[in-house]
Each structure stands twice: as structure tokens, then as C-alpha cells.
């Protein structure tokens, strides 16, 4: 009986999952681009830029995700019109920017100084040295912690629930309300769906890490 309901409602759950994945892709991409830029600014930037970057990063790491979502949805939409989905992308994306900037900063700084020196000594400008020598090494260091960030953010998409984004968790809630269904089983299925996507994503990222690993870069022990 409850399984029949779940089966009938599965298209809604899958649609919710699809929305969650879109949100995840958007916020991780935003965080990747801005986070990398922020890391470069924090390391190589002029001190005024650096200071601004650090302030941004502290604020977005220091405020709860739910509060950020509420601020962006109810606060910012007073001035700029945007959908709840867009507000979620911005709130969670900027928060991920702050976290990813720290992943990339650590990864860049773990590339030995001598690498930059050797590049400069052959007449490579600093920007090119960063692009050709430092970042290719740093990204290999970053992928482990980045996999972690992927998992956190996948789970964080469920918080967009509070501002009305109809993602997987909210679809689950709808099913429970409209069918007086079994809360435990419905959310159990929802949990399983998050879990499966999480494992799949981790598996793919480990695969990718393995492919770009070269001797000299320690590989994580399974």
C-alpha cells in the first residue's frame, strides 16, 4: 500500500532529485569559478583585494546556510526580483565559494616554492607560471577535499526547502502531506536517493582523481 504510493509518486521524487541536482551543479560551478578566483586573490592579490576576499570568505563561512537562504530570499528579493531557485543558487553558491576558496588556497600553497622559482627562472611570467605549473599541481591536491565539498553541498541542497524550492526533500514532504503516508518510509526513500547520488558522485570523483594522478602525488588510500 505505502509502496504503491511511493511507486506512483516516484516521478515527483525524481523530478525533485533533478531540481536538487540542478541546484547542486549551479552552486558548485559558481563556487568553483569564484572560489578559485578568491584563492588566487588571497595568495597573489594586492592587499586591498586580499583583505576584501578574506572578509567575504569569513562572513560566508561564519553564517548558517539556512540563515543565508532566508537572507537572500526574503532580504535580497526586496531589491532584485529572483526566483527561490536563483536565491538558493546564490546563497549556497557564495557559501560554497568561501569553502572552495580555502580548498584551493591550501592546495596552491602546498605546491613547493621551488616550482614557481624554477618557472620564473626560465623566463616565465608569474601569471603563466600559475597557469602552467602551479594550478595543474594544485588541482591534483584539491580534488580530495573537493570531493568532500561535493558531498556536503549535495546534502545542503535539501536546505533550499526552507525558501520553497521544490527539490527532493520538499517533494517528500508533499507526498507525506497529500497521502498521509508513512513519514518514516517516504523520507527513508528520500534518504536513500541522496545516499545513492552521493556514492555515485564520490565514485566518479575518485575515478577522475585516479586518472590525473601521476607519480609524486600521493594517492589516497581507498
Amino acid at each position: 500500500m505505502i509502496w504503491e504510493i511511493i511507486w506512483n509518486q516516484m516521478p515527483y521524487l525524481l523530478h525533485g532529485l533533478w531540481i536538487a541536482l540542478q541546484l547542486l551543479a549551479a552552486l558548485l560551478s559558481l563556487g568553483l569559478v569564484l572560489g578559485l578566483a578568491l584563492a588566487l586573490i588571497e595568495i597573489y592579490g594586492h592587499w586591498t583585494l586580499r583583505w576584501t576576499g578574506i572578509l567575504f570568505e569569513r562572513v560566508f563561512r561564519g553564517v548558517p546556510a539556512v540563515v543565508l537562504l532566508l537572507l537572500f530570499y526574503y532580504g535580497v528579493t526586496d531589491f532584485i526580483e529572483m526566483s527561490s531557485f536563483m536565491a538558493a543558487v546564490l546563497a549556497l553558491g557564495l557559501r560554497s565559494t568561501a569553502y572552495q576558496s580555502q580548498i584551493f588556497r591550501g592546495a596552491i600553497q602546498s605546491v613547493p616554492q621551488g616550482q614557481m622559482m624554477a618557472a620564473q627562472a626560465m623566463g616565465m611570467g608569474r601569471a603563466r607560471a600559475v597557469g602552467w605549473i602551479i594550478l595543474p599541481q594544485a588541482l591534483r591536491h584539491a580534488i580530495g577535499p573537493w570531493t568532500n565539498e561535493f558531498s556536503s553541498e549535495l546534502k545542503a541542497t535539501s536546505l533550499a526547502y526552507v525558501i520553497g524550492v521544490v527539490e527532493l526533500t520538499r517533494q517528500g514532504k508533499y507526498i507525506v502531506s497529500s497521502t498521509q503516508g508513512n513519514v518514516l518510509i517516504v523520507f527513508g526513500v528520500v534518504a536513500l536517493m541522496y545516499f545513492v547520488v552521493n556514492r555515485l558522485g564520490n565514485w566518479a570523483l575518485y575515478k577522475f582523481e585516479g586518472r590525473i594522478t601521476v607519480p609524486g602525488f600521493e594517492r589516497r588510500a581507498a
Partner: protein
């Protein structure tokens, strides 16, 4: 004709401590000079000041008559190769790519030109069979030889060697020293900070002895080793002289 490399009045301070107190030296085309002296006398700092990896506080560096200034720095560095004590090969690149990246990306050579040049230099250092290896898969001596090939592939006017064998076991030192000897005999212009007496005696045209941020004396190896002018030089040579026997035994001439 003026010298290929002219270094004049280089000074460098770290905090209150003046490492270089006005150092001048010239390097003629085809000349090999070895800089020696107790540690902490600024030998490595001098080398780094020459290509501005460490910008000097005062003094000038001229390559082929052209003064090094921030504007032409990257162009000058293409002609002044640097070999590091700890190799600093690019960890994520295979041997071949370590050597071609400069000629391709900086000098603008085509892929095949860069590759041909890299193979030529790898053969010169005796590592043509390691083309596809990553630095982490090589011994220290092999890594240093690859880094010399990387330097040569830029076809520089001069190569600066910063203690190229100090990070190596005695048995690996020999293979690097042999490559350097060959370069010197082929007329490569080299400025070498090193305590390899074997190399200094047989391959150097001149020895520069530094102490306390100054050049104390310089001259041909025979003169400097056999009849040093200063007591400080004599003391230093006696000290490292104790190691010469070991170095020779360990296969410096191998």
C-alpha cells in the same frame, strides 16, 4: 670586448644582516667560474641576485652589455639558465615535457622543434631512455641531469649552478659532475657555486673565493688552490681538503 656577464657592486640585506657587501665579477664567453667559500657567505644569494630571483638592494647586472631591469627581466632570464640545488623539476610533467615546456611556451618553438631539441639535450646528459618518466621515478642524480637538460634546451648564454650536487649522495654526485665537466669543455659559459674540488680543479677557468659577503680573492685553480693569498682561504681549503680524498674515492672521476 666586454664580458658576457658583468656583475657590479651587488648588495643584499636580510633585515639587519648584510649578506652581500658589494660584490663584482665578470664572466667571459666560454668561461667557467666556480664560487667557493664557507656557508652563509652569500654565494647562493649572489647567484639569485644575478637573475633577480632575489632582487639585489643595489648594484647592476649586465648580460651582453644589456642591464637587467624589471622590464626586460623575463627576456634576460630566457638566456640565463638556473640549475637548483634541489632540482625543482616540474612534478606533474614527464621528463620530456619538463624540457619542452620552456622552448615551446616561452621561446615559441613548434612541438617537433622543441621535441628534437629536448631529445638532443637528453642524450647529452645520457638520459634519452627516461623521456616518459616522471621526476618522482628518477634518482636525485638523474633528476639533476634532467634539470641540466632543461636548462640547455633554452640555449642560454650562461648557466648558473646553485650547489648542484649538494643534495646528492656521493655516488650520484659523479654523474652530475661529469655532465658539468663536459659542458665546460664544450665551451659553455658557467657560473657554479660548488665545493666540488674535482670539478673546480679540472674544469674551472677561475675560482672565486667568497667570505663574509665579499670576494676575498680569485684566480686560476692552480694559483688559488696551491698558493692562496689569504689565511682565510687557506683555512677553508684545508677544511674541505679533508673531504677531497673521500670525494675522489667516492667516484668523483667515475
Amino acid at each position: 670586448m666586454s664580458a658576457l656577464l658583468e656583475v657590479e657592486g651587488i648588495r643584499k640585506k636580510y633585515g639587519q644582516f648584510e649578506v652581500l657587501k658589494g660584490v663584482s665579477l665578470q664572466l667571459e664567453r666560454g668561461q667557467a667560474k666556480v664560487v667557493m667559500g664557507p656557508s652563509g657567505t652569500g654565494k647562493s644569494t649572489l647567484l639569485r641576485c644575478i637573475n633577480y630571483l632575489t632582487p639585489p638592494d643595489a648594484g647592476t647586472v649586465r648580460l651582453d652589455g644589456e642591464e637587467v631591469v624589471p622590464r626586460n627581466l623575463n627576456r634576460i632570464r630566457q638566456q640565463v639558465a638556473f640549475v637548483f640545488q634541489d632540482f625543482n623539476l616540474f612534478t606533474h610533467l614527464r621528463v620530456i615535457d619538463n624540457i619542452t615546456i620552456g622552448p615551446r611556451r616561452i621561446l615559441g618553438l613548434s612541438k617537433t622543434e622543441a621535441r628534437d631539441r629536448a631529445m638532443r639535450e637528453l642524450e647529452r646528459v645520457g638520459l634519452a631512455d627516461k623521456v616518459r618518466a616522471y621526476p618522482a621515478e628518477l634518482s636525485g642524480g638523474q633528476q639533476q641531469r634532467v634539470s641540466i637538460a632543461r636548462a640547455l634546451a633554452m640555449e642560454p648564454k650562461v648557466i648558473l649552478f646553485d650547489e648542484p650536487t649538494s643534495a646528492l649522495d656521493p655516488e650520484l654526485t659523479g654523474e652530475v659532475v661529469n655532465v658539468m665537466k663536459r659542458l665546460a669543455s664544450e665551451g659553455m659559459t658557467m657560473l657554479v657555486v660548488s665545493h666540488e674540488i674535482g670539478f673546480a680543479r679540472s674544469a674551472a677557468d677561475e675560482i672565486v673565493f667568497m667570505d663574509g659577503g665579499h670576494i676575498l680573492e680569485q684566480g686560476p685553480p692552480a694559483q688559488l688552490f696551491d698558493a692562496p693569498q689569504h689565511e682565510r682561504t687557506r683555512r677553508f681549503l684545508r677544511m674541505i681538503g679533508d673531504q677531497v680524498g673521500d670525494a675522489a674515492a667516492a667516484g668523483e672521476g667515475a
